[in-house]
Symmetry: C2
Subunit: 429 residues, 2 copies
Amino acid sequence: MKTILYPEKETWQKLSGRPVIGRSQLDDVVRTILHRVRLEGDKALLEYSQKFDGISLPSLKVSPSEIREAVDLVPGTLKSAIRIAKKNIEKFHSMQLISEPRLEITEGVKCWRRSVAIEKVGLYIPGGSAPLFSTVLMLAIPAKIAGCREIVMSTPPGSDGKVNPLILYTAWLTGVTDIFKIGGAQAIAAMAFGTESVPGVYKIFGPGNQFVTRAKEMVQMEGVSIDLPAGPSEVLVIADRTANPAFIASDLLSQAEHSADSQVIFLTDNREVLESVKSEVDVQVLRLQRKTIACKALENSMVILLSSVDECMDFSNLYAPEHLIINTLEAEKLSEKVVNAGSVFLGQYSCESAGDYASGTNHTLPTNGFAKSFSGVSVESFLRKISFQEVSRKGIENLGPVIQSLAEAELLEGHKKAVEIRLKNGENV
Amino acid sequence: MKTILYPEKETWQKLSGRPVIGRSQLDDVVRTILHRVRLEGDKALLEYSQKFDGISLPSLKVSPSEIREAVDLVPGTLKSAIRIAKKNIEKFHSMQLISEPRLEITEGVKCWRRSVAIEKVGLYIPGGSAPLFSTVLMLAIPAKIAGCREIVMSTPPGSDGKVNPLILYTAWLTGVTDIFKIGGAQAIAAMAFGTESVPGVYKIFGPGNQFVTRAKEMVQMEGVSIDLPAGPSEVLVIADRTANPAFIASDLLSQAEHSADSQVIFLTDNREVLESVKSEVDVQVLRLQRKTIACKALENSMVILLSSVDECMDFSNLYAPEHLIINTLEAEKLSEKVVNAGSVFLGQYSCESAGDYASGTNHTLPTNGFAKSFSGVSVESFLRKISFQEVSRKGIENLGPVIQSLAEAELLEGHKKAVEIRLKNGENV
C-alpha cells in the first residue's frame, strides 16, 4: 500500500482518480459477438459455449430437473442462512415500493404517478472463481418486489455443463423465471436481442468481467437499458484514534481479495492508527487463501494521513467510493457530510461483508466514481414511474389561459389550439 | 395518415416499431467535436460559434446585465403565466422528495437510505425555431427541489449573439447558476468535460437535435450520466365513440407540429370516429402556421381501427408511447391497464399541451419505446439514494454467523474473517 502523508489539496483530484483502462481491442471482440448472436441466435450461443467454455451443451436452458437436483444438493444450514439473508433484503427493499397520493394541482387538475414494473428484465450472474449467489439475491429480490413479469437469468456453466447449485437454488428461491447457461458478452447479447431460446428483455442487470461490462454498454446504445456502468469494486475506510486497527485491516482485505484490480483506500487523521493498520494488513493478508489476489490489489492501494476526519470526508466525497466505512467515534455525525458514496457503513461493527450479504441493503453499487451521479440497485431500478393527469372542464377553464399564453410564446400554435377548441367546447374553431 | 383496419396481431410488432435512423456519418462529426472541446476548451467552443452560429462571441457566459435586460423585456402577462406554471410544477414535483424511515432489520442492525442531490448538473435547452423556455421549467425546477448545488445551462444564441429573453427570464426565475451561449454537440462536450469558462457536471439533461443526442450518448460512455436516450416526440391517442373528433384532431396536430419526424398514432374501436378524426385533421392542419412541418409528420403517422378499446390499450403498451391520451367513456378504468407509457392524459379535457406546460407533470419523457424501461425526468433524476447501515455489537452477534456462512460458500474467506475478528472483539485471530 502506498502511504501518503498530508497531501496538498491540489493533488487530491489526481489521487482520487481511478486507473484508466484501454479498450479498443476489447471493442472489436465484443462487437463481433453481439453481431453474431443477433444474426444467428442460438447457433452462435452454442458455438461460443464450445469455444469459450469448452463444452457442448444439449440445451441452453436449465431444466426443472437440474433445478430440483440443485435444491437437494445445498446443505440445510446454508439454506437457512440464505433464507435469513433473503428475509432481511426483502424487508429493506419492500420499503422502497411506495404509492404516491393524487394531487389536485388546481381546481379540476389532478396529477399523480403510478409505479409500474419493467415487464422483462435480465440478470447476469458471473461464474469464475466464486459462485456469486448473493448477487442473485440482490437482483432477483427487488425485481420480484417490483413485480417484474419475466425475470431471465444468465450465468456461465462449469466445465461439466452445469450451473453451480447455490446459484440455481437461490434463483429458484427468489422466483427467477428462466435460467440460461450462457456467460460473457454473448449472454448480454442474447438477453438484449432475444434468440430462439432466450427471451429478449428491456433492462439488463448484474456485474461481470470487462467483456460483459462492455457488452452492456454497447447494447445500451441500441436501446436496452442497463443497471449501472461498471468498474472494479472499491472500499474507502475512514478511521480515527478510537478504531481497532485489526478490524480496519480485515475490511481492507475483504475488499482486496475480490480481484487484483480492486481499489482499497484508508484515510485517517491519526499517525499511530495508520502504522498499526499497515502492520495488521501485512500480518492478516498472509492468512488469506486468496492472498495472491489481495496482495496484487494492495499494490494499487493507498493509505493517506490527513489533518482531520472532516478532511477525510472531503477526500471521500471527491473519490465517491462504492463502499464507505466510517469507523470513528462520532460516525453518525460525520456521516451527515456524505455526499458521494454508494453504501455507507457506520461504526466499528459495521463491516462491509454485512452489506455484501445480509444487512438488507443492496450490494450492486456504483463504482469508479459513478456514485457522483448514480444510486445502487433498488426496487426503483426495476420500476418506471408513469405520470397521469386528469383535467376536467373546470380544470381546462382554470389552466387553459396559462397554457395558451405559454404555447403562443413558444410559437407552438397547435398546442394553443388544442386548448382553444376545448374552451369553446366542441364548436369548430 | 396511413389508415389500417383491424391489423392481424402478428403485424403489431412491426407496426409499433419506430423508423431506424442511420448515424455513422453523424458519429464522426460528433466525435471530432467532443475531442476538440476536451483538448482545446474555450478556444474550440468559440471557433464552433463562429463556424456553426456565424457569430463571434466576446464571452461564452451570459452576464448579469444580459439577464437583467431579459427580465425587463418579458411582458407582465407572460411572466404571470410562467409563474403559475412554475407553481404547479413545483407542487407536483415537491411530492417526489421524500425521506425514508430507518428500519431495524434485526436487533442491532439498522438500515436506511438518504436522498442526496447530484452536486453538479447541466441542462441543455435547444434553440432553433421555438424558444423552449418550458423545458427550462421542467429541468431547473426538479434540480432545485432536489438541491443541486450547481445548475449549469447551455443554449445556442441567436444570430445577434443573444439568448432569447424568455429562456433567460425562466432560467433566472428557477435559480439556474450559470448560463452559457453554446449550442449543439459542443455544448454537451463543454458540460461533460469542463473548459476554462464552463464547469464540468456529473449529469446532463435536456432535448436536442441528433448531434446533441448523439453527443449525450457518447459522453455517457465516458462516465457522464444523461437523463434519457432520445428520439422524436410522440403521441398516441385512444378514443371511443364518445370522443369529440375535433379534440382528437387538435391533439394529433399539436404533436405533429413539433417536427417533421414526430410520431402521431390514433387508435379507436369506432369506424365513424376514425373517419371524422381524419376529416378534422385535414381541415385543422390547414389553419396551422406550422402546417408544412405538421403535414410532413402526418405522412409517417397511422390511424388504426381495432376491435375494442382493450385491444387499443394492448397495442399502446406494445408501442410504449411518450404521451398517451385516453379519450374514452371510462378513461380512468382503462388507464389501470397502462404498462408502458411516459405520461398519460385521461378524459376529453386532458390535452397534451396541459402536461407540456402547466398541469404540473414533467414533459421530459421517454420516446422511441424507451418507456418500456425508463421513466420521465423527476426530482429523483437529480438525486442519488445512498444506503446506510449501522451494526452494533449485538447486531454482529445476531447476523455474523449468517454472513460467515454465506461468505464461506462464496469462497470469500476475507469477508468471513472481517466478521470473525469482530465476534472475537479485537483479539487477534
